[in-house]
């Protein structure tokens, strides 16, 4: 799963620790999500998106092409 967390964080000039505080998780958790080494649970993904005032699909992007675009599976 790809994420725009780093970009959104930079826009607000937040450090990982600050974002972690806003979301209520550890800094290591934010770091692991940002680097794509950990996929958050659905509730956590919604929580992160809500902190940025965005929808979950604006923050997290599913990478598998077969599932990413519904039109892609019709061919």
């Amino acid at each position: 799963m790809k994420t725009r967390l780093r970009v959104l964080r930079a826009e607000r000039e937040w450090s990982q620790a600050e974002l972690a505080m806003h979301v209520g998780v550890s800094r290591a958790c934010i770091n692991a999500i940002e680097t794509g080494r950990y996929d958050p649970s659905l509730p956590l993904a919604f929580k992160i998106a809500r902190v940025f005032g965005k929808n979950v699909e604006e923050v997290f992007l599913y990478q598998d092409a077969a599932y990413a675009s519904p039109s892609g599976s019709q061919t």
């Binding site: 620790a17 600050e18 290591a28 692991a32 080494r37």
Partner: protein, 135 residues
């Protein structure tokens, strides 16, 4: 211009405090239990009661710690528990094997202490792995 200071996360402080309480209570409880073995009558009962209360407090801090950690840390917590569980299984099998050759069993409180030590070792190994992977 002074460098930007990272904010102190109250959740991190809470987790560290709970872990410290856990180990202090575990050590206190073990010390009271050990002292009780060399005491008599009322003093022994009082020390055993203190040890039991300390053990209950240990369990309470562990449960509070479990509630304070996030889903990412939970993964590492369960890794440490798995490590401790497998370690205890190996130890108990070895103990049963040696017992059949006439060796005496380790007392119950020794098993509890070993479980805490193995869990702590598991936590240290998990946090090292996390540090090298993610930080």
């Amino acid at each position: 211009m002074s460098p930007r200071r990272e904010p102190v996360d109250p959740l991190v402080v809470k987790k560290q405090g709970l872990l410290r309480l856990f180990y202090e209570a575990a050590l206190g409880s073990a010390a009271a239990f050990a002292l009780a073995q060399y005491s008599h009558n009322l003093q022994r009962k009082a020390l055993l009661t203190l040890s039991l209360l300390g053990s209950s407090f240990v369990v309470w801090t562990l449960l509070r710690f479990l509630r304070a950690i996030d889903e990412f840390e939970t993964r590492y917590f369960y890794e440490a528990l798995t490590f401790a569980f497998i370690g205890m299984l190996i130890f108990l099998i070895g103990e049963a094997f040696l017992e059949s050759f006439g060796f005496s069993r380790v007392p119950g409180y020794g098993n509890v202490a070993l479980a805490v030590v193995l869990w702590s070792a598991g936590l240290i190994i998990s946090s090292w792995r996390r540090h090298w992977r993610y930080e």
